[in-house]
């Protein structure tokens, strides 16, 4: 099963990369969202997958149980999802503010921080 998940992970990475190579910052944001999914799924896959049995210990049971899904990657992903969501919100709002302020979501037109004339043209002392 990991094999198929790995292919899906690769596909998501590819699409995410393609999106992030766009001019439109909105597409970049979507690329970020996709990337988050890809990474989460990657960690999930790398923790090896088990079908159906959640890492929840049945009531009254206190010892070691087997056959459950690997809980650690799940916890890590949970953390990563929430962080990813927070950062996603940020870049989204940032994009919005950049759009509002710069009048574009086209990254090619975002040249205020780095205009053409930032370089010294001749020697002076």
């Amino acid at each position: 099963m990991e094999f198929y998940l790995a292919i899906l992970v690769g596909l998501i990475f590819a699409v995410s990369t393609y999106m992030m190579l766009s001019r439109s910052v909105i597409r970049l944001v979507l690329g970020v969202a996709l990337l988050g999914n890809a990474v989460n799924l990657l960690i999930f896959t790398v923790g090896r997958v088990t079908r159906e049995i959640p890492p929840i210990i049945p009531n009254g049971f206190k010892g070691m149980i087997t056959g459950i899904a690997n809980p650690l990657p799940q916890a890590l992903i949970l953390t990563a999802i929430v962080i990813g969501f927070a950062l996603f919100s940020f870049v989204l709002v940032l994009t919005y503010r950049a759009y509002e302020s710069l009048g574009t979501d086209n990254s090619e037109e975002m040249r205020i921080a780095e205009p053409e004339d930032v370089l010294v043209s001749e020697l002076t002392y």
Binding site: I43, V46, G47, L72, F90, A98, I112, A113, V120
Partner: protein, 522 residues
């Protein structure tokens, strides 16, 4: 209650002593204060006091931890009562505490400078809270002994740096922030990917445990890829070639205190992580990582140096100087000998201090001249000779000229490179240093010595900027003078730092000590 036998096999049973909490203080102190300051958001009066308080706690914690580590060796505390590698361990060795101390000190200085730079509206929007959170993330990164936990602290740093960067919402900031945000987000994401895959190979997250598991692993090919991926991810964070774009795009856009924090601290955390990971997880580089370090480092030095020559803006120039310094650090890590690590740590401390100082003084200069454009700045030595002296000293420091701190790490780095047989690196370090002289020197000559604007005729001096009020200048100059004195003292009494940096470098090569402290002699 649970079976005592079970508890004794799963948990730490020895009582936790008061002193052991010390390792938490630099992180937890500012966090609690930051949480309080969030609750009092909008009350600008107490924000500054809280920030000062939080930073002082962090500083006090760092200092006390420093001595603890100095006298008693590396310190470790595994959280939540579990034993490492299952719980998250904080482990502090000399490297951590040196970085932690300098970071706290710099933050304190910047906080002291802030009232002269930060508007009320900024304070109400959480400027100081973000600084505190940044400090939390930085200290967390320095102390943690767990690679996923490191990722979390990196995210803490990242989000607070985003906040500081956009505070004010100017067009230029937003533009810079867009570039900064996406590239840095990718950096941490790649880090997370690498962490995930590393877990997939070793099944563990704790540094000390990783040290053993990676060494025992026969998945050398995958580990080689991962080591380079870590290098790549932290390379983005540290602004190494060719992943540094975000830095020149953004560092000149926010308030000067923010530039100073960024310049002084942020890239160094990436460097710290590289040092940590490549001393514990991949101590023998697992392949070609160290060669890549030196190659990228060399390119970074050169590109940074060239960039600093080409800039018309003071802050932009400093950004490139900073990048060049990152290259030096990368080179040091790549050489990977005790001397090189000593040089790296020494350089890191020097660079943290000096870059902060330079950005802060750029703030004074910019305020004075009404612009950060070098061609519009002039006559500083006539208006404020004291400012000129400070700039001059910091510039010398960053160029690596005596009698300031930059000389020594450069010297050690050259020595380490030569001793390691990397003769070409000697050339690169020297050329890089030369380029910095060209950039920083020429900018300084123009800003300090020239009469006024670029068109000012010879001998005519026309002050252009607004005169700073005296108390404002005093607020701004105090931290700068402290940094100036520190870099001067480190220039003439380098041994003061070198002895500690040497211990730190020793710690980095004495991995067993770290492992033993973290895993409790397992």
């Amino acid at each position: 209650m649970a079976d005592p036998n079970l508890i004794s096999e799963a948990m730490r049973t020895a009582p936790t002593l008061l002193g052991e909490w010390n390792i938490l203080v630099p992180m937890l102190g500012p966090l609690v204060v930051a949480a309080v300051s969030v609750m009092f958001r909008g009350k600008d009066r107490i924000q500054f006091s809280l920030a000062l308080f939080g930073t002082l706690i962090a500083l006090a914690g760092s200092v006390s931890l420093f001595f603890d580590v100095l006298f008693n060796g590396p310190q470790s505390l595994t959280m939540s009562g579990w034993i490492a590698p299952y719980g998250i361990a904080f482990t502090a060795d000399m490297v951590s505490v040196i970085f932690a101390f300098v970071a706290s000190l710099i933050t304190l200085l910047i906080i002291l400078y802030s009232p002269a730079d930060i508007d009320k509206a900024f304070v109400k929007s959480g400027n100081y809270t973000m600084v505190l959170i940044l400090l939390v993330g930085i200290h967390g990164s320095f102390m943690t002994g767990d690679i996923f936990n490191l990722y979390v602290w990196f995210e803490v740093i990242l989000i607070s740096s985003f906040g500081l960067l956009i505070l004010g919402g100017e067009k230029i900031q937003l533009d810079g922030a867009v570039k900064y945000a996406f590239i840095n987000l990718l950096g941490t994401t790649f880090f997370l990917i690498a962490v995930g895959l590393l877990y997939g190979i070793t099944g563990t997250l704790n540094f000390a445990d990783l040290y053993q598991k990676v060494a025992d692993s026969d998945a050398t090919g995958s580990l080689a890829i991962l080591s380079i991926m870590f290098l790549f991810a932290f390379g983005i964070k540290s602004a190494a070639f060719p992943m540094y774009f975000w830095l020149p795009a953004a560092y000149h856009t926010p308030r000067i205190t923010v530039s100073a924090i960024f310049g002084g601290l942020l890239t160094k955390v990436g460097i710290y992580a590289l040092i940590r990971i490549f001393s514990i997880v991949f101590p023998d580089g697992n392949g070609a990582a160290f060669e890549i370090f030196t190659i990228l480092g060399a390119l970074t030095v050169l590109v940074g140096g060239l960039g600093s020559i080409a800039q018309v803006g003071l802050r932009r120039m400093l950004a490139y100087v900073l990048i060049s310094g990152v290259g030096m650090l990368m080179i040091g890590i790549g050489i990977n000998t005790p001397l090189a690590m000593l040089a790296t740590i020494q350089y890191a401390v020097h660079s943290m201090l000096v870059m902060t100082g330079l950005y802060l003084i750029a703030g004074v200069i910019g305020r004075m001249a009404g612009s950060f454009e070098i061609s519009k700045i002039g006559g500083i030595v006539m208006q404020y000779p004291f400012v000129a002296i400070c700039y001059f000293g910091l510039a010398l420091a960053v160029m690596g000229l005596p009698p300031f701190s930059g000389l020594w790490p450069k010297l050690m780095m050259v020595q380490a490179a030569f001793m390691n047989g990397d003769h070409w690196l000697v050339a690169v370090i020297l050329v890089g240093s030369f380029l910095t002289i060209g950039g920083v020197g020429r900018a300084g000559i123009q800003m300090i010595w020239r009469g006024g604007d670029i068109d000012t005729p010879d001998g005519q001096y026309e002050p252009r900027g607004r005169r700073l009020e005296k108390h404002q200048l005093n607020i701004m100059m105090l931290p700068i003078v402290i940094i100036f004195l520190l870099t001067f003292l480190l220039g003439i009494f380098p041994e003061f730092l070198i002895q500690f940096a040497n211990l730190a470098a020793g710690d980095l090569f004495n991995t067993d000590l770290y492992v033993k402290n973290t895993l409790g002699g397992l």
